[in-house]
């Protein structure tokens, strides 16, 4: 497998429709990497970027009564940071790279451009959010019983 294929191996798994749907420039322009243990998002800060995870796992934690609780562990195809992006609020939780992580970053400026050129990416975000809602409802059911 050549470098080109290796680079996009994970993206293809995400169901973006294969290589024909991927613009090399987007990865080069909007890609961002994080080392294991590095904060992607810190709880309470006022940043607004959305991160689409391409590779690696991310731990979502929240401080409750001075104790850090793990809310979720997210992997390729899932997104973090969308709530602050759309709701004009501070970050409600921290996101930490559990291993070396590769993401694509959507800022308020770039989101519109990417949307227009690659609407499939929006579907990926919607699907990710929907799946997280189902998982979180299941967690709520377990907690309530």
């Amino acid at each position: 497998m050549g470098d080109y294929m290796k680079k996009y191996e994970n993206i293809m798994k995400l169901g973006f429709g294969g290589l024909e749907a991927i613009d090399d420039e987007i990865i080069d322009t909007y890609g961002k990497s994080f080392k294991k243990g590095e904060f992607i998002i810190r709880e309470g800060e006022e940043t607004k970027d959305i991160y689409l995870i391409l590779r690696g796992t991310v731990i979502v934690t929240k401080e409750i009564n001075t104790i850090k609780k793990v809310l979720a562990i997210l992997g390729p195809g899932e997104i973090v940071g969308e709530m602050s992006f759309f709701e004009s609020s501070t970050r409600s939780a921290s996101c930490i790279a559990d291993e070396d992580v590769v993401t694509i970053v959507f800022t308020s400026e770039t989101f519109s451009d990417i949307y227009k050129t690659h609407p499939r990416w929006l579907y990926q975000i919607l699907e990710s959010l929907s799946t997280r809602i189902i998982k979180t409802l299941n967690l709520l059911k377990i907690r309530m019983n």
Binding site: L126, L129, S130, I134, L140, K141
Partner: protein, 125 residues
């Protein structure tokens, strides 16, 4: 003005139940409340329900459809006479691909739902 080229528009009377737990997800399965009021309930078991009451601008049926479930895990009932846009999954995806506002509304709505559920979980911790 809302301009959703693939959507159908339907009126529903107060107290009409759009779907119940376990109903098969098929056909027009994503709904956007143009006007009126709906109540979305999730069954927590042992007689307990998690209620998401929705006003104008809300989407419902969306997270079950887009996550690939084949049966409903929520129940939706109209609390007032309402006007609703309806899409099949395929038509909805076509509309959001050309209507950025609808796409943004969808992400914003799903984010707020997720935040509400997380908040409920924190309250139970």
């Amino acid at each position: 003005m809302d301009n959703y080229t693939k959507a159908k528009v339907f009126k529903f009377k107060k107290d009409h139940i759009l779907y119940k737990y376990g109903n098969k997800i098929k056909g027009e399965s994503i709904f956007y409340l143009k006007s009126g009021k709906v109540q979305t309930k999730y069954n927590l078991g042992r007689g307990k329900k998690f209620v998401l009451t929705s006003d104008q601008g809300s989407l419902f049926g969306i997270f079950e459809t887009l996550s690939g479930l084949d049966k409903r895990i929520t129940e939706v009932k109209f609390l007032a006479d309402s006007i609703v846009f309806l899409w099949t999954k395929e038509d909805f995806l076509m509309d959001i691909s050309i209507n950025q506002d609808l796409g943004m509304k969808s992400i914003s709505f799903l984010s707020s739902v997720l935040r509400n559920i997380n908040q409920k979980i924190q309250e139970t911790s």
